[in-house]
Structures are given as C-alpha cells and as structure tokens.
C-alpha cells in the first residue's frame, strides 16, 4: 500500500501545523523552565 504524494494544499497545511506545534512545545518548554526556576529558589 504505497502512499500518494501529497498536494500543495496539504503541504501548506502540514507546514502550518508544524509551526503551531512549535508554539505548543515552546509553551511547554516555558512551563518547564518556570518550574526549574521555582526548583532553584524553593526548598523542595
């Protein structure tokens, strides 16, 4: 079952979704860094 090459519209859609994911993972990374900062200043 070979996959067909994707259309131009799908290519743009995929690119937009990847950009969106970078934003999502950026947010998660920010939360991680906030937690790391808290870890460094608190007595956990």
């Amino acid at each position: 079952m070979k996959e067909q090459p994707i259309s131009e519209q799908d290519r743009r859609r995929r690119k937009a979704l990847i950009a969106f994911q970078i934003v999502c993972y950026g947010y998660l990374l920010t939360m991680f860094l906030i937690q790391m900062y808290m870890y460094s200043v608190r007595d956990w």
Binding site: M1, Q4, R13, C24, F32, M36, R42
Partner: protein, 233 residues
C-alpha cells in the same frame, strides 16, 4: 472460465493470492504487535511487551519489502503509540479514580507520588472522593479518562484497521491531547509547590517520565495531510 482477478503480477501468481498473502502477513505481524501493546499498556509489564512489539514491527516491514500490501509503517507506529499512551494513562488514572483504596493503588500511586509528584502523596485518600488530592487533578481525571482516553483507544483501533472514521477520530483525540496538555501543565506549574515539595526527584523526574505522553499530538501534521483515500469508509 477465467476469473477477472486472475491477473499475473510480478513475482506473484495472481491478485487473489497477493491479497491473501498480504492479509496473512499483516495479521501475523499484528498478533505480535497487539500482544506487545497489551503488555506495554499495563506499565509494569512494559519490558516484556517491548521486544514482542518490535518483532511484529520487523515482520510488517519485511512483508512491505517483499511487495505485499500491508499497512503503511507510519500508520502502524502512530496507531499503536496512541493506543499504548491511552492505555497507560487509563490504568493509572482509573486506579486513582475508582480503586484508590486497593493495595495496588496505594503502593503503585503513592510510590509514584513519593518519587515524582506529591499530588499523589500529599493527603492521599483524604478527600471525600479518595485518591489524589492535588488541586484540579480529579477534574482532569474525570474529563480525560472516560472522554478522551477511551475514545482514543477506539480511534486507534479504527485507525489501525485503516477505517476513515478511525483517522477522523484520531485527529479529534490528538487535538484533545493539545488541550489536555496545555491545561494540565499550566495546572502543574500553578500548584508546583503542592506537587514538588518533599519529593525525591522534583521537576526533572516528572518531565523525564511524562515527556512520552506529550508526544502523540506530534502526529497531527501527518494525520491532516495523509492521503485520505488510503482509509476506507
């Protein structure tokens, strides 16, 4: 009389034979991968499941190289990953939600709480509902367990069967995953003092363990742009 399907193909005898051999190869590979996924989904027996799963995956890739019509490898990987992810989340949270007083839950979840997340240690089993007491945790369990994770396992099965509804519902549950993780991590950060005080491995331990669960929505660009025609109604 000659059947319309008795066309000669490459090294194969005919289409019927090719179809039969493809189905057999796929089922053979799926048997290994399903047993592997069942073990992996229990968390504690994960180490047993991993080699079984890899054996199934190797069988499928081999069948693909032989020219048989099997499921695309990417569909297989995403389908099983999502099913295992949902099973792992379900088992832990189902224990906490409805079986929080069992010996298994008190050992398994409180050990987890002691090591990584005090939400599962601090005042454990002291609320009227029992189980984890971290602010917001029960709300996430009730919202995500019956709605997202159950739907996600069903969607993954449909997706692995190459059904159109499986692909569509996998997209929906992967978007649920984005919402769930954005909200859950905000909650963890806001109540970080409750969740990390006194634990053995604060922050880094939790993130190392949970990063696997945060990955399923990486599948979204593929799911949105894969050729829809490979999935059947």
């Amino acid at each position: 009389m000659m059947n319309t399907n008795t066309l000669t193909m490459g090294g194969m005898t005919n289409l019927d034979d090719h179809h039969l051999r493809s189905r057999q190869a796929q089922w053979q590979a799926d048997k290994w991968m399903m047993v592997g996924a069942l073990f992996l989904g229990t968390a504690v027996f994960g180490l047993i499941g991993f080699p079984l799963f890899l054996r199934g995956l190797a069988l499928q890739i081999k069948a693909q190289r032989q020219g048989l019509s099997v499921r695309p490898t990417m569909v297989t990987l995403i389908g099983y990953l999502v099913a295992i992810d949902a099973a792992l989340n379900s088992i832990g949270w189902a224990l906490d939600l409805v079986a929080h007083h069992t010996l298994l839950a008190r050992v398994f979840l409180m050990a987890w709480g002691n090591m990584f997340d005090a939400g599962y240690f601090w005042h454990y089993n002291e609320l009227w509902i029992g189980g984890a007491t971290a602010p917001g945790e029960k709300g996430w369990e009730i919202a995500l367990l019956p709605v997202v994770f159950c739907m996600r396992i069903a969607a993954a099965i449909g997706f692995l069967q190459m059904k159109r509804w499986g692909q569509q519902w996998l997209i929906i549950t992967c978007w649920f995953g984005v919402v769930a993780w954005v909200g859950y991590i905000a909650n963890m950060t806001i109540f970080a003092d409750v969740r990390y005080t006194g634990v053995v491995f604060p922050v880094i331990g939790w993130w190392l363990y949970d990063i696997f669960y945060i990955t399923p929505f990486l599948a979204l660009p593929y799911l949105h742009s894969v050729n829809r025609e490979i999935f059947t109604d």
